[in-house]
């Protein structure tokens, strides 16, 4: 639950500092307001093309190495779609203590941003998928870890 709360805080922080984040992949910045117990590693961003044309889903994944748990990478992911649809974003990743977990959010409307977060293994990919309930279409990307 505290993780979810951090996710909500991350949303506020990122909205304020979106431009600063975009260039963050190169430098390991000090821990920010997102996660005081973690080291910021950078941001991976890109697009997911679900419809094969028109607007794409844009994601940005801020990655942190946990200072509290070994072998742990935290992902805070924002996804924005400028069009008007009902869509769900789901992220899954292997958990540092075994197995895997996921987190998902469903949004409906125009020009919406959804936030998902997950605790993953330090050296593992996260799978980020967009799902359209109306048509059943789904596409995913593998987000690789930033060193």
């Amino acid at each position: 639950m505290s993780f979810t709360y951090r996710g909500a805080r991350a949303r506020v922080a990122v909205l304020g500092a979106a431009l600063a984040v975009m260039t963050g992949a190169l430098a390991a910045a000090p821990a920010s307001a997102d996660d005081a117990d973690a080291v910021y590693l950078g941001t991976r961003s890109g697009d997911i093309d679900v419809l094969g044309g028109g607007y794409k889903w844009h994601y940005s994944d801020k990655q942190y190495r946990s200072l509290m748990l070994s072998n742990t990478r935290n992902h805070y992911i924002h996804v924005t779609y400028k069009g008007c649809k009902k869509w769900r974003v789901r992220v899954s990743a292997p958990h540092p203590e075994g197995g895997y977990t996921d987190d998902s959010t469903t949004v409906e409307g125009c020009n919406k941003t959804a936030v998902v977060s997950i605790i993953g293994k330090l050296h593992a990919n996260a799978t980020l998928a967009i799902y359209l309930p109306a048509s059943g279409d789904t596409r995913s990307v593998a987000i690789t870890p930033i060193n």
């Binding site: 789901r90 992220v91 899954s92 990743a93 292997p94 895997y100 996921d102 593992a124 990919n125 996260a126 799978t127 980020l128 998928a129 799902y131 059943g136 279409d137 789904t138 596409r139 995913s140 593998a142």
Partner: protein, 146 residues
């Protein structure tokens, strides 16, 4: 389409049973109605896809199955899951199960990494009396479904 045939047959037998109970005692029939209807809604919803990477000295094997959500105790008319290899496109899994939750489909080993780089999956669950949920996943070999 195949589903509708056994389903209506089952409804027929349920209705028959209901009328027998009604003839016997009104109290029993109302208790049966209470347990029959709301169960599907509580802690159930869409099915889950689970995968497991199993290793031995010869390599790593990707195994997959579908299940009801933990905590669900509803009566499941059918839980059917499909998995496709997306590159190259080929159906690699189709299993169905039913019964009182928790239920899960048979576990199967999916193609090796050199045979299939990525997968997509769909599943549909139908609860008694007539509620269904679907979900879909995609992922790359080595990663986890989302």
């Amino acid at each position: 389409m195949q589903l509708s045939v056994p389903r209506s047959r089952l409804f027929g037998s349920l209705a028959k049973r209901g009328s027998v109970v009604l003839a016997g005692a009104v109290l029993v029939s109302s208790a049966a109605m209470i347990t029959a209807t709301p169960a599907a809604a509580v802690g159930c919803g869409a099915p889950q896809l689970r995968v497991w990477y199993d290793s031995d000295q010869f390599g790593t094997y990707l195994k997959a199955w579908f299940r009801t959500r933990p905590g669900c105790t509803a009566k499941v008319f059918s839980l059917r899951g499909y998995i496709y290899c997306t590159n190259p496109t080929k159906k690699v899994y189709e299993k169905v199960t039913s019964g009182t939750a928790p239920v899960e489909t048979e576990t199967k080993t999916l193609p090796a990494k050199n045979k299939c780089k990525s997968f997509s999956a769909t599943a549909k669950i139908i609860y008694y009396p007539d509620t269904d949920f679907s979900d879909a996943w995609t992922w790359k070999w080595g990663d986890y479904p989302a």
